[in-house]
Structure formats: structure tokens, C-alpha cells
């Protein structure tokens, strides 16, 4: 069962990475280079959490609950700076920073929701 959940979650991340990379290419073709760069930010977030998840699941003797606890911890600690950066962006009306940090945090939320839905399902 644990193997299934791990595989499912990695599959979701891989599909998301591929979709985001495809979207980047589409935006470039559509002469929307800046938006393509912003889409790349999204791809990076998926890749970061894919690596984090793989590192956690490679540790021996971890139960489903241990994986959940460790991964949720990472979902809290890694974006701490993103939130600070978003606040300072808003304070100084730095629209590019606001947009980038919002994309990162929205992608993170999507990853968290998918992870929880998958982990809490039977």
C-alpha cells in the first residue's frame, strides 16, 4: 500500500512537471516570454518537492505516517522564505516578486492538497 501511494504521488509530480514544461514551450511559441519564465518557476517547485519526497521515502523503516509527518514538515520549512519575500514584495510594490512568490506558494498549496488527499485515502 505504501509503495502504491509513493508511486502515485511521484506520478502526479511527474505529470505536473511535464504539463508545466509543455506550457512553458507553448508560451514561448506564443511570444509570451515573461509568462514562460514564470511557468518555469512552477516547474522548479514541483521538481524541488519531487526531490524532497524521494529523499524521504529512501530512508529505511519509515511507515506511512512517518513519511506524511516528514513531508508536511518540509512543506512548512522550505517556503518560509517565500512568505517573507512575498510580504516584502507587497510592502515595496515589487510586482515581479509578488507574482513569483504567489506562483511558488500556489503551486506548493496544490502539492500539499494532492499529497493529503492521496495519503488520507484508503
Amino acid at each position: 500500500m505504501m509503495e502504491n501511494k509513493n508511486t502515485e504521488f511521484l506520478k502526479y509530480l511527474d505529470i505536473s512537471i511535464k504539463a508545466s514544461q509543455d506550457m512553458t514551450q507553448e508560451l514561448i511559441k506564443d511570444n509570451r516570454k515573461d509568462e514562460a519564465d514564470h511557468e518555469k518557476v512552477k516547474t522548479n517547485v514541483y521538481q524541488i518537492f519531487k526531490t524532497v519526497f524521494q529523499v524521504i521515502t529512501k530512508q529505511k523503516a519509515l511507515e506511512l505516517d512517518d513519511i506524511k509527518k516528514l513531508f508536511l514538515e518540509k512543506l512548512e520549512t522550505i517556503p518560509a522564505n517565500w512568505k517573507t519575500s512575498l510580504e516584502s514584495g507587497k510592502e515595496f510594490q515589487d510586482y515581479e516578486k509578488i507574482l513569483i512568490e504567489e506562483i511558488k506558494l500556489q503551486t506548493l498549496e496544490e502539492i500539499r492538497n494532492t499529497f493529503l488527499t492521496l495519503w488520507e485515502s484508503n
Binding site: R32, D34, E35, I98, L99
Partner: protein, 182 residues
């Protein structure tokens, strides 16, 4: 329009979403949310593009009740492209423009929201940073060491190094315990 301004404008226009924003604004002035709805983009993306267009001089904004409205700067689009190409930039002006661009680049790399991220190792870059900090001092005003430290500490915690470097670079002068801009 200077050459640098023209390049900035052309670069800014070479984007489909920004073109669509301009096409909407040519019809009427609009606010971010309305543009977002019309163009099916997020308000944050629209704000990002509007900022670029505003910096390039293509749009301008004004407050209307609760909304920040954006309008097209028609004058800039009436300018003949041939006139822009023909415009001659004197060597001195071109050099000044290059220096200003370099200066801006260094300032953007080392400052974030008015705070110095780190002290540059290269003397040329540090000089630019120190000149930027020196703008916080009033010309002719005399400062105590404590006052100087407080002002510099607003930029970076290592105020001692920066204060000493400002003296050695000839930006500040010290007589006894009194400091002032040179």
C-alpha cells in the same frame, strides 16, 4: 526619446500579452481586475505587465475612486519610428547612458528594498554603493559619529567598515569627532 528608452520600449512591446493589454487600453482606460477578466490572465500577471509598460512609458496610471486606472500614453505611439532611428546620440551622452546603466545594475544587484545585501569586493562597485549611501546625508550638515553610524546602519549592519570606506573614498570628511559630506 533616447536610444536606451527606445530599446526598452521595443523590448517591452515584443510580448503578446502586453500587446493585448494595449489593445484593450486603446478602447478605454481600465483597472487591473477588468483587464484580467478580459484577457483571462491573473490580476498578478496583469499588474506585472502593466508595471513593465509603465516603466517603458507606454501606459500611465491614475487613481479613480477605489480603482487604479491605466491608460495608454498615446504620444509615445505617435512618434515616428524613423525619427527614433535617425536620432543621433552624442558620444558623451552615450557614455553617460552606459555609465548610468552600469550604476543602476550595480545598485540593483547589491540593494534590496533600500538595504545593502553585501559589501561589494570590487572597489569600483563599492564606490557606487558608497555614493548611493552618501545620498542619505545632507550637504554641509555636521554629524556626530553616532549619527553617522545610525544612518549607515539603516543600509547595512557593518556600519564601521562602510563609514571608514566612505572616508577613504573621500565621500566623508572627519574633523575630530565631527563628520560631514565632502
Amino acid at each position: 526619446m533616447t536610444e536606451a528608452e527606445a530599446i526598452k520600449l521595443f523590448k517591452c512591446l515584443a510580448d503578446k500579452s502586453r500587446m493585448k493589454i494595449l489593445k484593450s487600453l486603446i478602447v478605454e482606460d481600465m483597472y487591473v481586475e477588468r483587464l484580467a477578466e478580459r484577457l483571462n490572465l491573473t490580476p498578478a500577471t496583469i499588474s506585472f505587465h502593466l508595471k513593465k509598460l509603465e516603466d517603458a512609458g507606454a501606459v500611465t496610471s491614475y487613481k479613480d475612486q477605489y480603482y487604479m486606472m491605466y491608460s495608454l500614453c498615446k504620444d509615445i505611439f505617435i512618434t515616428n519610428i524613423l525619427d527614433i532611428i535617425k536620432e543621433e546620440t552624442p558620444d558623451a551622452k552615450e557614455q553617460e547612458e552606459r555609465e548610468n546603466n552600469y550604476r543602476k545594475k550595480v545598485i540593483n544587484a547589491f540593494f534590496e528594498y533600500g538595504r545593502l545585501k553585501s559589501i561589494p569586493a570590487q572597489r569600483k562597485k563599492e564606490r557606487i554603493i558608497l555614493e548611493e549611501i552618501a545620498k542619505a546625508f545632507e550637504n554641509g550638515k555636521e554629524y556626530s559619529e553616532r549619527e553617522i553610524n545610525i544612518i549607515i546602519a539603516d543600509f547595512h549592519d557593518d556600519f564601521c567598515t562602510l563609514r571608514r570606506d566612505m572616508i577613504s573614498e573621500g565621500l566623508l570628511e572627519r574633523t575630530g569627532n565631527i563628520y560631514k559630506l565632502k
